[in-house]
């Protein structure tokens, strides 16, 4: 008899989700679905609002990566203004973005995933959390807290506050960087470097322990996409889109992000509020692609900063061709933190960073604008249309987590097939499914632009719809 297992709610992720697993007559997992269960409707209720309000409105989608939303939104608004953003403002936006990457990646790696990585996927669930980590690996946990703090301090020093700052505006930013804040940020760098090198050494040394997880965490061929700069190096705020295939061959390069809708489309499934974007040319669901930290390192030709480049070379050496397993997102996050620290130093040492020329003023001159950035979790696209008065008439957002929806679903199936046996959701299987999702670091509140608390439930349901087993984590 076929059965369905549901895991809900999923814990240690950002947002609300549940998983349904369908078992066939022999008790083997035949299908897996990752449901995002809330709906918020940002794209709809932004209609009628003035476009220059958008960067702050969309920041409320998320408390972790509001900065990414505000930069993507401001870039879309820049296009609506039809002006070029002053170079110092573009540098300040990149600096701010370094802060958000550091704090968000630190949260994902240390607070959410390190309990699995350090204490083991089979550790007692009551201990397998940030508090358990503090008991057993206090210095690792402290490193996480301190690294996240550095990221938050960067955001605060630039934008005035840590969460939901109203600093990035259409045409630039609304205040220049103070010299004392520049000096303060430079003083944070040594500690940041010490933490990230310590953590990279520890993580690389323990990769052996995760062999099964590496083998099964969404480890299958897909396309990869990410922004790269004019030299083909890693880029988070500007740059053009590149797609590569599972062998590493470049399919498209130098794609103008404004024309995203020519190669990406979104599919809606009735069982989730999270849409599934796919690569148009390959159709749905064959157009599955991955976005995010590991995908970015896969598509770029290097990081463009010396230390991160060394780590990138080591990362690329893990496999011939692109690194397929999504488990390596953890690794890629650490490398991106290092890259962000190096980039930040480069930007802070540029005298132009203190320039007061940080905003271009204009009214709405265009009727449409697209803003694309790399958010910590992947590609983030904001697309607005306005009327003659500058009021939003239509908005579309493809958020970072959504890009990986197809890959997460297929990844769950892969993990479930490996770890679920005898139609019971055992604790270790349960946690590995959750850990797979954590490897993508999805932000479900972002992904549906939806509300909800962090949790996951797995339900096991028979083909006639009867609930056989249900586990709360």
């Amino acid at each position: 008899m076929t059965q369905t297992i549901q895991i809900k709610p999923i814990t240690r992720i950002e947002g609300h989700g549940k998983i349904t697993l369908v078992l066939d007559d022999s008790g083997a997992v035949s299908d897996a679905k990752f449901h995002v269960t809330q709906f918020r409707g940002f794209e709809k209720f932004c209609e009628g609002r003035p476009f220059y309000e958008m960067p702050s409105l969309v920041e409320r989608i998320c408390g972790i990566c509001p900065v990414s939303h505000s930069i993507a939104s401001a870039k879309a608004c820049d296009s609506i203004l039809g002006v070029s953003v002053p170079a110092p403002a573009r540098k300040l936006r990149r600096l701010l973005n370094c802060g958000t990457f550091i704090q968000s990646h630190a949260l994902s790696f240390f607070h959410l995933s390190a309990p699995d990585l350090a204490l083991g996927f089979d550790a007692d669930p009551s201990e397998r959390n940030i508090f358990g980590l503090f008991k057993t690996y206090p210095s690792l946990a402290m490193d996480g807290i301190n690294l996240r703090k550095i990221g938050q301090q960067i955001v605060e020093s630039c934008a005035g506050k840590r969460i939901h700052p109203a600093w990035v505006v259409p045409g630039g930013v609304n205040k220049s960087l103070l010299e004392e804040n520049r000096d303060f940020l430079l003083s944070l760098l040594p500690e940041g470097h010490a933490i990230i090198h310590r953590t990279l050494d520890w993580f690389k040394g323990s990769l052996e322990n995760y062999r099964e997880e590496i083998r099964t965490f969404a480890n299958f061929p897909t396309l990869f996409t990410g922004l790269v700069n004019s030299e083909g190096n890693l880029e988070h705020v500007e740059g053009k889109l590149r797609f590569i295939d599972s062998k590493g061959a470049t399919i498209h390069d130098g794609l103008d992000p404004h024309r995203y809708d020519e190669y990406l489309a979104e599919n809606t499934e009735e069982w989730s509020y999270l849409k599934s974007p796919y690569f148009k040319a390959l159709g749905y669901p064959e157009g599955i692609y991955k976005s995010g930290p590991a995908a970015r390192l896969n598509v770029c030709d290097g990081c463009g900063t010396p230390q991160a480049d060394q780590e990138w070379a080591e990362f690329k050496g893990l496999e011939r061709g692109p690194v397929l397993s999504s488990f390596y997102n953890h690794y890629a996050r650490l490398i991106e933190v290092l890259y962000s620290l190096e980039l930040m130093e480069h930007l802070l040492k540029d005298p132009e960073i203190l320039s007061p020329h940080v905003r271009s003023i204009a009214r709405n001159n265009e009727f449409e604008g697209v803003g694309v950035v790399e958010a910590p979790r992947g590609l983030l696209i904001h697309h607005y249309k306005v009327d003659e008065e500058g009021l939003i008439t239509w908005a579309n957002m493809i958020v970072a987590t959504g890009n990986n929806n197809l890959a997460m679903n297929r990844g769950i199936l892969q993990v479930a097939r490996r770890f679920i046996k005898n139609d019971k959701v055992t604790e270790d299987a349960m946690n590995r499914i959750e850990a797979l999702i954590r490897a993508f670091d999805p932000c479900l509140s972002c992904s549906t632009h939806a509300i909800g608390g962090p949790n996951l439930r797995v339900d096991l349901v028979s083909p006639d719809g009867t609930l056989l087993d249900s586990v709360l984590s």
């Binding site: 009628g48 609002r49 003035p50 220059y52 702050s56 939901h164 505006v169 008065e389």
Partner: protein, 254 residues
């Protein structure tokens, strides 16, 4: 009490209507006042604070917001101090529990009528309505929101009006009529369906009477009227012009 200009000129003529001085008490404190001064104005002269929203020094009184209510001994109802004149030996209480409680409720009701979300508002941090919440100790809204949805009118070249943030204080109407002399703004509808309009409810950008002076924007207590292109929390209002204008026109006494 201030009247429309043509009536005020008569009211101000001391030969026709000699002004009497009377004495009364506010919170037990003996005060004296001209009979044509409002309780609000006497209280402020004597350092007694009464919260206000629709009142603005330099404009006529309207009594629209009701936040300045006070208790008058012997009267069962609460009276708006901005439009109530004192009487000889009147006993006024501005800070009883009953008054404070009603003021908070009035403020909460203002929040329920429209969409006042400070965090995404151009006037965040520079808003009279927001400041009142801390002044009056409002922590929650205990009534259901109406969730009305009003369109933003951004047809004017430089300014926009977001009715979702309007509290119907009518400062814009008064400044336009009394100071600028254009009377572009007025109000239509009744009760909570009331709405400020430009000319005969035409888009602001098509108004033939609007001079584009922007006084209405500067006196607006919230983010309802703002300069276009201002992002969240960037809209600071400059109201210094009001006393200067009144002074230079030689009608500061009104």
């Amino acid at each position: 009490m201030r009247y429309p200009a043509f009536l005020q000129r008569i009211a101000d003529r001391a030969d026709v209507q000699p002004v009497r001085i009377l004495t009364f008490s506010i919170n037990g404190q003996a005060v004296s006042a001209r009979e044509d001064e409002t309780i609000l104005s006497v209280a402020r002269e004597n350092g007694i604070s009464i919260p206000t929203l629709c009142h603005l020094d330099g404009l006529s009184e309207r009594g629209a917001c009701r936040l300045c209510i006070v208790e008058i001994k012997g009267s069962p109802k609460l009276s708006p101090s901005c439009v109530t004149l004192p009487r000889q030996d009147m006993e006024v209480i501005t800070n009883s529990d009953r008054v404070l409680d009603y003021r908070r409720k009035i403020l909460e009701l203002l929040f329920t009528e429209r969409n006042h979300i400070c965090s995404v508002c151009v006037s965040n941090g520079h808003c009279d309505l927001q400041a009142l919440t801390t002044e009056l100790g409002m922590t929650h809204v205990h009534y259901d929101y109406l969730h009305t949805r009003h369109a933003v009118d951004a047809s004017h070249e430089r300014f926009s009006v977001d009715h979702n943030r309007c509290v119907l204080c009518q400062r814009c109407i008064r400044v336009c009529e009394e100071i600028e002399g254009a009377h572009t703004w007025d109000v239509m509808g009744r009760g909570y369906l009331s709405k400020v309009i430009t000319d005969l409810n035409q888009p602001w950008g098509e108004s033939t009477s609007c001079t584009g002076c922007g006084k209405c924007v500067q006196v607006c207590p919230t983010g309802a009227l703002s300069e276009k292109g201002k992002s969240v929390a960037e809209m600071t209002k400059r109201r210094q012009f009001l006393p200067y204008l009144k002074l230079m026109r030689g009608d500061e006494s009104r």
